[in-house]
C-alpha cells in the first residue's frame, strides 16, 4: 500500500477529519454527474450516502482500535451495503409504459456508499480508484452505450375484413420464415368500418425487409392495410 498515507490510517482526530472531508468530496464528484443530468438522486444524495458509509465504517474501527472492545470491526460497515440495497430498490420505479427506470442511479448510489465505506476504513487507494472508475463509467461509457445499436423486434399492424383472413396471414408469414413472437387480435370496435386488427410482432433477421413484407401482405385478398408500427 502507499506508505506516505500511513499517518492517516490510524483513528485519530486528524484522520477522522480527513476521512469525513474526503467522503464529502468524493460523494460530491460522484453526484455531480447525476445532478448534471437532472436525475432524482443528485449531488446531495450521493454526498449523504458516502458520508453515512464513512461514518459507519469509522465507528466499527473506533470500537475495536480505540475503545479496545473485542468486536468485529467490519460488521457495522457491512450492513450498510444491505441497507443501501433497500434504498436503491426504492429508487427504481415503473413508468406508465411499464418500463423500469432508475436502475443505473440505484447502482450508482450503492457504489457511492461502498466507496464511502472504503474511505472510512482508511483504504484511500481503493476509494480513489473506485471514484475514478465510476466517473469513467458514467461519462465515457455513456457515449459508448449510445453507439451500440441493435434492431429490436418490429410490430406490424394489419387490418382485414373477415375473421378467417388472420389464419391466411399467419400462414403466409410463416412461409416467409418470419418468426412471430407475439400476436394480438382486437375485434372491431368501430361498427361502421367492420375491420379487424391484429398486431403481429416479428423477430427480424438480417435479410428481412419489412416494407416488402407489408406490400406482400396487402396483396392478400381481404387485407386492407399492413403497416409497421
Amino acid at each position: 500500500m502507499l506508505h506516505f498515507l500511513d499517518g492517516l490510517r490510524n483513528v485519530t482526530i486528524l484522520s477522522t477529519f480527513f476521512r469525513l472531508m474526503l467522503a464529502c468530496v468524493i460523494g460530491g464528484f460522484l453526484g455531480l454527474e447525476r445532478s448534471y443530468n437532472n436525475k432524482p438522486a443528485g449531488f446531495r444524495t450521493h454526498i449523504l450516502v458516502c458520508l453515512g458509509g464513512c461514518v459507519a465504517s469509522m465507528t466499527g474501527l473506533y470500537l475495536y482500535l480505540v475503545a479496545g472492545l473485542a468486536t468485529d470491526m467490519s460488521r457495522i460497515g457491512a450492513n450498510v451495503i444491505s441497507g443501501l440495497g433497500f434504498i436503491g430498490a426504492g429508487t427504481i420505479f415503473v413508468t406508465h409504459k411499464k418500463t423500469i427506470k432508475g436502475l443505473t442511479t440505484a447502482a450508482g448510489l450503492w457504489t457511492a456508499g461502498i466507496i464511502g465505506l472504503a474511505v472510512g476504513a482508511g483504504f484511500y487507494e481503493g476509494a480513489f480508484l473506485g471514484m475514478i472508475l465510476v466517473l469513467l463509467t458514467e461519462t465515457v461509457f455513456t457515449r459508448l452505450r449510445d453507439l451500440i445499436q441493435h434492431t429490436p423486434p418490429s410490430t406490424l399492424a394489419v387490418s382485414y375484413t373477415r375473421r378467417e383472413e388472420l389464419d391466411i396471414i399467419v400462414n403466409h408469414l410463416r412461409h416467409e420464415n418470419c418468426k412471430i413472437t407475439n400476436l394480438k387480435v382486437a375485434g372491431n370496435t368501430n361498427a361502421q368500418t367492420a375491420l379487424y386488427n391484429a398486431l403481429i410482432t416479428l423477430q427480424p433477421n438480417a435479410e428481412m425487409d419489412f416494407t416488402d413484407i407489408c406490400r406482400d401482405l396487402e396483396q392478400i385478398d381481404g387485407v386492407v392495410s399492413a403497416e409497421i408500427l
Binding site: A78, A107, G126, K184
Partner: protein, 241 residues
C-alpha cells in the same frame, strides 16, 4: 501470479479494473438488446462489489502485517473477512428485486435481468478476492447463458405445449363455445380465470385460459387466429410469462 494474489497496490488496481471490465462485457450484451440493466449498471455494481471485498482484505492486512498489529496482540484477532461479501449479496438481491415488475394479467417481467445482475455482482466479489480463474470462467458462462441460450429458450417457448390466452368475449355464456372449440383443437384446459376488463368505458367479460395443447402441428399463432374466428370473441392475446 502469486504476487497478484497478495494485497498490494497493483493487485488492487488490477482486481477493480477486471471487475469493471467483466461487468462491462456482460452489460454490453444487455445494452444491445435494450434491456433495463445496461452497460453502466453492470460496471457500477462490479466496481462496488470488488471494492467491498477489498475493504475487508485491507482491514485484515492492516491487522496482521500493518499498523494495527500491536492492538490485535492486545485484544486478540476478531475479524471475519467474508462479512462484507455476505452483505453485498443481500444488497444486490434488493437492487435486483427493484427491476422485477408485475404487470397486468399475472405476468412477471424483468426476472432474467435481475438474476443476471445478481450473478454479475457475485462475479465482482470473486474479482475483488483475487479469484481470477473463477471470474474468467464465470464471465464466459454468464455471457453464454444471456446471449446464446436465448434463441434456444425462444424456440422452446414457440413450440411450448402450454399456452395462456386472455380472451375478451361478449357474455359469460360464450365460454362454453370457446371451450368447445379448444377441445376440438385437442387442447386440454386446466384453468379458466374469469375477470372483467374495461374497454371504452364499458365492462366486458374476459377469461384467461391456461391450457396444454396436444402433440399436434398447431402453433401458438394458429391457435390464436382460430379462436379469433369466433363471432363472440372481441380480442385474443397470448400471455407470455
Amino acid at each position: 501470479m502469486s504476487y497478484l494474489r497478495q494485497f498490494n497496490f497493483l493487485s488492487v488496481c488490477l482486481r477493480m479494473i477486471l471487475a469493471m471490465c467483466a461487468g462491462g462485457i456482460i452489460g454490453f450484451g444487455r445494452t444491445r438488446k435494450k434491456k433495463t440493466a445496461g452497460l453502466r449498471t453492470y460496471m457500477l455494481t462490479g466496481i462496488g462489489a470488488s471494492l467491498a471485498i477489498m475493504i475487508s482484505l485491507y482491514e485484515y492486512e492492516m491487522m496482521t502485517n500493518g499498523l494495527w498489529a500491536p492492538i490485535v496482540e492486545e485484544i486478540g484477532m476478531k475479524y471475519d473477512v467474508s462479512r462484507f461479501a455476505a452483505q453485498v449479496i443481500s444488497g444486490a438481491g434488493f437492487l435486483a428485486a427493484g427491476s422485477i415488475i408485475a404487470i397486468e394479467h399475472q405476468q412477471v417481467e424483468g426476472l432474467t435481468t435481475a438474476t443476471g445482475l445478481f450473478a454479475s455482482v457475485c462475479m465482482g466479489l470473486a474479482a475483488g478476492a483475487g479469484f481470477y480463474e473463477c471470474v474468467l470462467i464465470t464471465c464466459v458462462l454468464i455471457i453464454l447463458v444471456l446471449n446464446v441460450f436465448q434463441p434456444l429458450e425462444r424456440m422452446y417457448k414457440r413450440h411450448a405445449r402450454n399456452i395462456d390466452l386472455i380472451v375478451e368475449f361478449e357474455s359469460v355464456e360464450n365460454i362454453q363455445q370457446i371451450t368447445e372449440l379448444l377441445n376440438e383443437k385437442n387442447a386440454s384446459i386446466y384453468d379458466i380465470d374469469i375477470e372483467r376488463t374495461t374497454r371504452s368505458g364499458e365492462h366486458y367479460p374476459a377469461a384467461i385460459f391456461s391450457m396444454k395443447m396436444s402433440k399436434g402441428k398447431m402453433s401458438h399463432a394458429n391457435m390464436i387466429s382460430s379462436i379469433a374466428e369466433l363471432d363472440c370473441v372481441y380480442s385474443v392475446e397470448e400471455l407470455i410469462a
